[in-house]
Amino acid sequence: MTDIDFDNLKEERKLARIEAAVKKPGFAAMRRQILELFHEEPDLFSRLFARIDTRIRKYPPRDYCGERHWTDELVADRLQAIWNTVLNPAMSYFAKIAKAPPQEIADIIWGQIRKIMIAEATPNFKRFYNSFIQELQHDKPKRFTSKTVAKKRFRGLRAWKSDSRIKLGNKKVEELVKFWQVEKRLRFPNMACNEKLVGEPLCDLVWEMFKLLNEWVREKRLFDSWKKLVNFPTAVQAEQSLDGLPRDSESGPEAVEKYLDQNGRDLLGIEQLQAVKEVLCENADAWASHFDRVFAGFRPEQKKFLQYYYVNGLAPGAAAEKVGKAPSFASQTFSRVAEECLPLREQLSSEELPALREFLKVYLLNLKPETGRTKK
């Protein structure tokens, strides 16, 4: 009955820290210096805003905000968060900015951009970042290094750093996955089976990967291939696994993507919502009998998994975990649903596709719970 409002507590602590910082001697002087800085350099703020804005938009939106594209609103939120931290009297940035010459302000803020971007990233990406990138960073001084060539970042072994014979690789994600998994038969852990990814074994494995490849890897492709190699559970994975649906000849792949994406509803305008409603009213009975037949053949844990995903809104990996399964279970179940949806999907235009997803959600909501085997 006396739950604690953590949001408020956090806010109160933050305010208390600011209050303490403001009371410290020297705060007034620092504040004055910052005000003078922006007064003397009136364009400084707008220049900084523009540069930070550009930098934020360079982060892949799928991972860092969970959307397909950066919107002005999303960028503005992050900009605001960055300024809130760097101009917070309780943070060390405040003192640094107060002392720095104008040309160095951007360098001070740069590090904070990355931190804020990670803090605001999707939970799946944060998990990936903590388990893989952080580990790689820890081991970097010993065994790994990176270099930038023609504005592209590459990763490789420290031992090659000055060896010009090691070429810059240009392999795509799929090629990398095939190379390590099929050609070299490296065994990768399955992330959702709780196989440990931290510590020495992970870094050893990455070292082995570089060694076998014997070329610099594009950093972005290394990260993406790693996600595939360890069967990293992401929302995108669920969408991709359903991608077996035939393309709509009228509107192309975009229409299918709208259907697949859990967040795709955001793309619907109010008119399209109404169109979806009409399709649902017309087809509800027929679709209900179709799904009755389809789900009669599904196992209880598959149904439970789909309920967790569509009704409770859990990520595919988390939903699979709830029924005691690995993420590969998510992809298998999604492919099966996609296959079973084919006859219905063929009757719909791309505009009407979201109706199928909405119907499936409500159908699953009403699905009676069943007892069945759910292996742990």
Partner: protein, 268 residues
């Protein structure tokens, strides 16, 4: 039609948490005595959930998209609505709200009722409704925050109504001390989730005991416990054993205050 039933009206912002800048209105779903059943209304249909009724701008005389959040319906005192609606009727937007045609008002009440009662795939889509929001989506996060604010708005409005009528309740209820305690807690604590179960004095004690076992009840909360116990007695005396009353008795602090207002109507 009742004078306020089916209307979409501005809320009384003096009870709305000052930190929040959300713009919302309230839909009057029902009126019983001086208790109004209100649902929050927003106009961003992207935040609409499965139990929310969406009314496109073209289908309402208010000429803007409405999302009536049916799941958040709850009992409120009349003071939860913008004070002096009649006096402010020179205001164009309020005039528009008050002038909503009867047919439209009836349709909104009926549609919301239908939406709440029909969740089967064959019937659910006869009205335009929202969908299940992904748990980590921006909209779902916003909604969680909004629900907390709506609950504290309700509690603040009920406290306001109880304090405005000190003579309405018999002294044995211990209303004054209970309200003071609840008011103190309002600034710090979120509304607890409603509990369900049979309504009687033992049950009230059992709820409190289990909360205490979890370390969730402090000494000052015994005032609310007294109020709960006294309301259970009053319910038995008045033979009010309906499901609504039982639910309120076993619910949150706001539910208790609403129950008190229902059990002890204003004297004319």
């Amino acid at each position: 039609m009742n004078s306020k039933n089916g209307l979409v009206l501005p809320i009384n912002y003096s009870f709305w948490p000052p930190k929040s800048q959300t713009i919302l209105m309230a839909f009057v779903q029902a009126v019983e005595g001086d208790i109004l059943t209100l649902c929050p209304v927003i106009n961003d249909f992207k935040a609409a959930e499965f139990f929310d009724l969406i009314v496109p701008a073209g289908k309402t005389s208010l000429a803007c998209d409405l999302v009536i959040m049916g799941k958040l319906q709850a009992g409120f005192p009349a003071g939860a609505l913008h004070a002096g609606l009649a006096a402010a009727s020179h205001d164009e937007s309020i005039k528009l709200c008050l002038a909503m045609p009867d047919a439209e008002r009836q349709r909104l009440v009926a549609d919301l009722d239908y939406l709440q009662k029909n969740t089967l795939p064959t019937t659910a889509f006869k009205v335009l409704r929202g969908t299940f929001l992904p748990k980590d989506s921006e909209a779902a996060r916003w909604r969680r925050k909004f629900v907390r604010r709506w609950q504290s708005f309700r509690l603040a409005a009920l406290i306001g109504a109880v304090k405005a009528q000190p003579d309405r309740f018999p002294q044995y209820l211990g209303m004054k001390t209970a309200v003071e305690t609840i008011e103190q807690g309002l600034q710090k604590k979120p509304e607890p989730a409603a509990q369900t179960g049979p309504a009687n004095e033992e049950n009230a004690m059992r709820i409190a005991a289990s909360a205490k076992k979890r370390g969730g009840i402090s000494i000052e909360r015994s005032e609310t416990l007294n109020l709960r116990r006294n309301l259970a007695k009053a319910m038995q005396e008045q033979k009010q054993t309906g499901a609504v009353f039982e639910k309120l008795l076993n619910g949150s602090d706001a539910d208790l205050l609403e129950l008190a207002l229902r059990l002890f109507p204003a004297r004319r």
